[in-house]
Amino acid sequence: MSTQIINFTLNGDPVSTAIEPHRNLVELLQRFDLLGARESCGQGLCGCCTVLVDDVAVSGCLYFGVWVDGKKVTTVEHLDADGALSKVQQAFVDCGAFQCGFCTPGFVLMTHQLLKQNPDPSDDDIRHYLSGNLCRCAAYPEIIEAVKRAAKA
């Protein structure tokens, strides 16, 4: 199958690759050994594959890789680029806001986006904003705590 050359910014660095147009963003990121975005439900319903494209969260399983051409892509792996956990990541640690950890990168990225838009969210704001992310271990009470803690940090 024919490939397409795409150029984009990945976690701050300019990159270029050839990719078939049917591959999704999760597959594209795997080529760069970025495994924090994970395809689980394959329907954009669970949020495990969350990736920021031009600072907007997308479902990597439903987003074609070629679409990031010319854009800025940020994954969970970039949040501690300076060596320290982000305040959201630290709050998730402090509150024990996960169990198996498979969905955690998605929650962390969505929380970053939430706090950017709404620095002091209410419980209802948090529930509404994160309703597109699912956690089968059901760490939800701890996740709500973590979001509030990160907001105060």
Partner: protein
């Protein structure tokens, strides 16, 4: 500093919040082929023909494999923990929709997926049976003959039995339930049902097999790597040491990833092709792998006029689906406590595991207990209401207490039943006046309490390595799927060896280096492996003292380990290895299903619920969900509490929304879009209480907790709905439609069926 009892974050926190934690999902190996599965669309049929020609011709396809190919490698390609009944790929018959029939292998998973669409199969359709009670009749047989695995001694008598769908029947007879029932002042009888639902871990089933020189390595998302190793070795006729099973962190398990799932398939494919093979299921395919048993439970109780339960008869039918998996153990082990946490002199239990033409059923967070509690706590509530006794008072009068024989005959010990029950009652403020609402919004409250005997007998082994600088490594086969086992064990090691838990390195689940463990299941790990870890740590401590003596240091010396090693070996060199095998005692049930020792420890969990029911729509809103469980003495209390909360929320899904819908054996809602699991917006106000007791035989007084939070949720909700609006829901899930139908039926204006 005391280590046990500290609240510390999981050891792997940083890896998990940065997206760098290791899962089988991520495994990629050089030269790896991806397998995609062609599945049966027929619930029950004889395979007439499988046409793979077009798939083979698709460019990029490496190979297409059917059951016949597998049989050339393994003449008897049947696997399973309790029965060797499941073919690696279907042979002559298919027994459920979704059963694997062929596999396409390609370097590109998209090519394999496309090729699967080009395969066709022809079947001679056979009549199918889906219902567990109907399957009691031998009209339609799913299997011609039973094939127990021999792993479990108490299943041997089933060998060669034919003409039946009953894979296992367990019977318990304590006292004389019929006679006592005949003399009882009141008799109550009800039937309850549960639905088919499933684990749906977010890391869907995935296994990778890598052939090597005279060996095979499996990377697999599995809760029981030791069992996988033994079973793969058996299938290939190899010694265990030629099979290596590695399990990194698990993206959820809940009992789904137990025993053997995709491993025999990928192992066979890797041996056939001499290349690494990975099969990763989609979310949809998980609906065809393993589920939670649907059940029908007929329960009957005789009660004296002063409110004492004098007899209870339980008939439980477990819908095990097409292959036994661990279903027979679920039917038997849960049978011990089918009559509930009550002190009843006359009990009979009949528990039947049945084959049907559905997706197989196994263990899901409770090993059958949640299905039983749904029935016995709904029934118990109905008795109290029928006798006009407060449901709390009625239970209090009948609760089983330490020192009394449980139905199996085992004397109850270290089971905090009254403590857990009273903790819930207190939080519910049960004796205060309760506002039952008004108009179309009615309110009610309910309570439920349960007991579980842990699966027994099972073994865990652990190894401790103290390096010459004094740093400590623990080797354990427990799979950490989020429950925090690595961290709990680090705390235990640290407590014994006098270091900080954060400094203990835990190596988990690599059968080349980690010793045997029965599996991460049934809330057994903290008790069994926890004891093994403690014993191995004590062994290491004793050896360190011996080393100090060899080095000529005085007894009771306080030298740091590095000095002891240096003194003994002249430099930083050598190791100390501490090890242990832990297996608790157990007495198998006798001919009457009785045993004086059925479990190494008891689990106790319960719930209290307040609901608001909208009588116009049937919608139920949970206003409050209280959960409490006996956790012994918690090793890491904060993490323990999240187990309780997580289990309760999971059970909330099984109570209110989750159900697999079947049409002609086909699952019609096999996706997260149509199968609704709890999301963050669905979480009611919750309180979770760890009831601290002492499990005297547990490591530092601890016991398992992973399942306890599921036990009481469903019946507490149904009991609260009854309290609110006077209707009784007897089948899960409790949907708004079910509630509205019951409300309208009660008003004498029932809704139409369609």
């Amino acid at each position: 500093m005391n280590q046990v009892g500290r609240n510390i974050p999981r050891l792997e926190v940083r890896a998990k919040v940065t997206g760098r934690a290791d899962y089988t999902h991520h495994v990629r190996l050089p030269g790896m082929l991806y397998g995609k599965v062609f599945r049966s669309t027929m619930p029950h049929g004889r395979i007439v023909n499988i046409d793979t020609q077009a798939a083979k011709e698709l460019p990029g396809v490496y190979r297409v494999v059917t059951g016949a190919d597998i049989q050339k490698l393994i003449p008897e390609p049947y696997y399973g923990p309790a029965f060797h009944d499941q073919p690696i790929l279907a042979l002559d018959k298919v027994r459920h929709v979704g059963e694997p029939v062929a596999v396409v292998l390609a370097s590109d998973p998209h090519v394999a997926e496309q090729a699967v669409q080009l395969i066709s199969a022809e079947y001679e359709e056979l009549p199918a049976v889906y219902d567990e009670v109907a399957a009691m009749q031998p009209d339609i047989l799913v299997h011609d003959v039973l094939k127990p695995a021999g792993t479990f001694a108490d299943l041997k008598h089933l060998k060669g039995r034919g003409g039946t769908n009953v894979a296992l029947d367990y019977h318990l007879r304590r006292g004389d339930a019929d006679a006592a029932m005949a003399k009882a002042d009141h008799v109550f009888e009800h039937t309850f049902k549960t639905q088919q639902c499933l684990h749906l871990a977010f890391e869907p089933f995935v296994s990778v097999a890598e052939p090597g020189d005279n060996k095979l390595t499996l990377y697999t998302a599995n809760q029981s790597p030791s069992f996988v190793r033994i079973e793969i070795a058996r299938l290939f006729g190899w010694p265990e040491n030629r099979v290596r099973v590695k399990v990194p962190y698990l993206g959820g398990g809940f009992g789904g990833k137990l025993y053997i799932k995709l491993e025999a398939l990928v192992a066979s494919l890797a041996m056939l092709t001499r290349r690494p093979v990975k099969i990763a299921l989609t979310m949809e395919e998980q609906f065809y792998m393993i589920t939670k048993h649907p059940t029908t439970f007929r329960i009957k109780s005789g009660v004296s006029k002063d409110g004492k339960i004098v007899a209870r008869k339980c008939e439980v039918f477990w819908n095990g689906g097409a292959y036994a998996d661990i279903g027979p153990r679920v039917a038997q082990k849960s049978g011990f406590t089918a009559a509930g946490p009550y002190d009843i002199d006359n009990v009979s239990v009949d528990s039947y595991e049945l084959y049907t033409n559905r997706t197989p059923a196994g263990a899901l967070r409770g090993f059958g207990i949640p299905q039983l509690v749904w029935a016995y706590e709904s029934h118990t509530d109905l008795i109290a209401r029928g006798l006009n006794i407060d449901p709390v008072e009625f239970r209090r009068k009948n609760l089983l207490r330490d020192g009394r024989p449980q139905a199996s005959g085992t004397i109850l010990n270290d089971a905090a039943i009254p403590e857990v029950f009273e903790a819930i009652v207190k939080r519910m403020n049960w004796n205060a006046p309760f506002d039952h609402g008004a108009g179309t919004l009615k309110r009610g409250r309910g309570i439920a309490i349960a007991l579980k005997a842990v699966i027994s007998p099972t073994t865990s082994a652990a190894i401790i390595n103290i390096s010459a600088d004094g740093s400590i490594t623990l080797f354990t086969g427990t799979v950490d799927m989020g429950q925090g086992s690595d961290t709990a064990y680090a705390l235990i090691v640290a407590e014994v060896l006098g270091v900080a838990a954060e400094d203990v390195r835990v190596i988990h689940s690599d059968t080349d280096v980690t010793p045997y463990d029965m599996g991460t299941l049934g809330s057994r790990s903290l008790y069994h492996m926890g004891n093994a870890v403690r014993l191995a740590s004590e062994d290491a401590r004793a050896k360190l003292r011996a080393l100090a003596a060899e080095a000529g240091l005085p007894e009771g010396t306080n030298y740091p380990p590095i000095e002891i090693f240096k003194k003994r070996f002249g430099m930083q060199a050598g190791n100390i290895i501490g090890s242990s095998n832990f297996v608790p005692s157990y007495t198998p049930p006798d001919a009457k299903g009785m045993s004086e020792n059925v479990t190494p420890f008891w689990m106790v969990g319960g719930s209290g619920v307040e609901v608001e029911v909208d009588t116009e729509t049937g919608h139920v809103r949970i206003l409050r969900l209280v959960n409490a469980a006996d956790c012994g003495k918690p090793i890491n209390p904060a993490v323990a509490k999240t187990q309780l909360t997580g289990a309760a929320i999971m059970q909330l899904g099984f109570s209110l929304s989750e159900a697999m819908h079947l049409d002609g054996g086909q699952v019609t809602n096999a996706s997260l879009a149509d199968y609704k699991i709890p999301g963050i917006a669905d979480i009611p106000p919750m309180e979770s209480e760890l009831v601290t007791a002492e499990q005297h035989t547990g490591p530092f007084g601890a016991k398992g907790l992973g399942e306890s939070g599921t036990f009481g949720v469903s019946p507490a909700i149904a009991n609260a709905i009854h309290d609110a609006v006077g209707i009784r829901i007897t089948e899960l899930p409790i949907t708004a439609e079910a509630v509205l139908r019951a409300l309208r039926a009660k008003e004498g204006r029932p809704l139409d069926d369609e």
